[in-house]
């Protein structure tokens, strides 16, 4: 990964206009062949499948109710005593006396869900704005792109914190919205670049020479060709969304109701006892990092696989 964020997005947009060679295999097939051989992709895929599977079955996997304060009698606030690991509770309890393993397992649901929804909403917003800017050009393009540039010049977490601070009552929903808004300019820039690159391309010119209407040009002849870069970017954004969302929860800008566990919020709750009980911070932090790493590995290897320069 070299260059600024903007340069990387633009490079990805450029890759839409590649000329497939006559290799006799489809683009998807040749990309898949290279993916399968890439160890980074395999590691990322294993991590992702594992975490998603755990999230799906966590309600049955969790040994205890993540909201129940089973071990409350072992918590002594004054002496900083937190339930240690014990039979039935392999990771012990959290500072409220709830089973830590159960919370960790069930917490994956919220974390993944927030990441996925934030990415989807960001994608939808960016798709509309970027396509409009690239297809219409002119002042629409100027206005959208100035806004996008401003937003991209602010560090994403700072922007997410500022946006969620605007909401009177923080909740899981406000976290999703804040993180999604931060992702919109990334997708907008990508789509706009891809549209611009295709506007002068041969197949669009050929379609225009047949009298194809502008709407059909955009939706049938341009957008589908942007799909590859969009999927790559969405996978990478998923990783940053998860981290950003966790950071917001950690900072207390997430769901105040902690009966539903979430990794960022668990991390925030363990913060005061990090010296005496580092494991309580290690587990949620580790999970966030590993799952984000999984998506990043997949995204990066997808990018390489779809890169026309690497095609064989």
């Amino acid at each position: 990964m070299t260059g600024t964020k903007k340069q990387r997005i633009d490079a990805l947009a450029e890759s839409t206009v590649d000329k497939p060679e006559d290799s006799g295999v489809s683009l998807a097939a040749s990309a898949w062949r290279r993916l399968r051989r890439n160890p980074a992709f395999l590691v990322g895929a294993v991590i992702t499948v594992l975490f998603v599977a755990v999230a799906l079955i966590s309600p049955w996997l969790a040994p205890h109710d993540p909201a129940a304060r089973d071990l409350a009698d072992q918590v002594v606030k004054a002496r900083n005593e937190i339930p240690p690991a014990q039979p039935g509770h392999p990771l012990g309890g959290d500072p409220q006396g709830r089973d830590f393993l159960s919370r960790l397992l069930v917490g994956s649901q919220q974390t993944l869900m927030v990441g996925v929804f934030a990415t989807l909403i960001g994608l939808a917003g960016g798709l509309v704005l970027g396509t409009l800017a690239g297809a219409l050009g002119g002042w629409v393009d100027s206005v959208v792109m100035r806004a996008v540039d401003v937003m991209l010049s602010v560090p994403s977490l700072l922007l997410a914190v500022s946006i969620s601070a605007l909401f009177a009552r923080p909740s899981q929903f406000t976290v999703i919205i804040a993180v999604a808004i931060v992702q919109i300019p990334i997708f907008a820039r990508l789509l706009r670049g891809s549209m611009l690159a295709q506007r002068g391309s041969d197949h669009v010119l050929a379609a225009r020479s047949l009298g194809v209407r502008p709407g059909a040009i955009v939706f049938r002849h341009m957008l589908p060709n942007s799909l590859g870069p969009v999927i790559v970017q969405a996978t990478l954004v998923l990783a940053t969304s998860i981290i950003d969302a966790a950071a917001l929860s950690f900072l207390g800008l997430g769901n105040p109701d902690d009966s539903v566990p979430e990794w960022g919020q668990m991390l925030g709750g363990s913060q005061q006892v990090i010296d005496s009980h580092p494991a309580l911070s290690f587990w949620p932090a580790g999970c966030i990092i590993v799952v984000a790493l999984g998506f990043t590995l997949i995204g990066e290897s997808l990018r390489d696989a779809l890169d026309p320069k690497n095609r064989r």
Binding site: H203, A206, S209, G211, V212, L227
Partner: protein
Amino acid sequence: MALLEVRDLTVSFHRRGEPVFTAVDGVSFEVEPGQTVGLVGESGCGKSVTSLAIMGLLPKRGAKVSGSVTFEGTELLRLSDRDMRDRRGRDLGMVFQDPLSSLNPVISIGLQVTEVLERHRGMPRKQAMAEATDLLNKVGIPDPTRRLSEYPHQLSGGMRQRALIAMALACRPRLLIADEPTTALDVTIQAQILALLKELVRDTGTALIMITHDLGVVAGLCDQVNVLYGGRIVERAQRHELFVEPRHPYTHGLLASIPRLDAARGQKLVPIPGSVADNIPWDHACAFAPRCANALDVCRGQTPAEEWHEGRLLRCHNPVEPAADAAAKEDLRV
């Protein structure tokens, strides 16, 4: 009345931070119904820009088009975007140089062919599919039903160009513009595609503007040939006259090393010393003067005007004398 009348067509590119560049400079020619007209010249002489201007496909911003292009009496340059769109693909078709990049890589051939039929002939999908099968058959694509469900990368180069020709001719336009349709293809395929075009325009009565830098293509196909240099027509003649007695020194130079269809792929004509880069502006001179063997002093001081010489159009102060070409005539007879 001519099918297409191009009068004084001028295209200049105005780009910010760059000097104005006139790519096509007062070009006039006509195409009669069913006629095949050649537009010949080296790379950069304005062939593609001329065809894009006729089709109304030049970028709105940056390209200034003036003059007149009338098609069956209608002034195309003044049509609204919508009206011009309705004509493209229906009255005027175009085939481009690179068949692979001219097809949409993510849509099946069938969808791309039926799109035109649905657009201009209002066919429902099913009927359009049947018609598309027919069309692919006509352009010589074997097993058309299977090909319709395939994607561009699964077809060979020649087949892709056949599919594009099928699309351009799907609505039976009265004029087809082929912009170097064989340049990107293998030699044997080139001959096949040319034969196909010849057959199609003969059978359908479609007029054809054949754009090429390859005089060999012109020889087998065109009724009339326009030779372009530096954005202007320098000679126009019937095919036979042009080949037997080229009068313009540039045409003469091109013919001096007439390429054959069996020549190596990608062979470029470099029959004349120098390159287009040596052009001087037409303003007060002949743009070809720096490379011309016949150049006189007047060639560098005065623009040669278009003049009629014995049934042909010439733009030259000192044309090649017909007698000088007795040897070339001999060559052609062999």
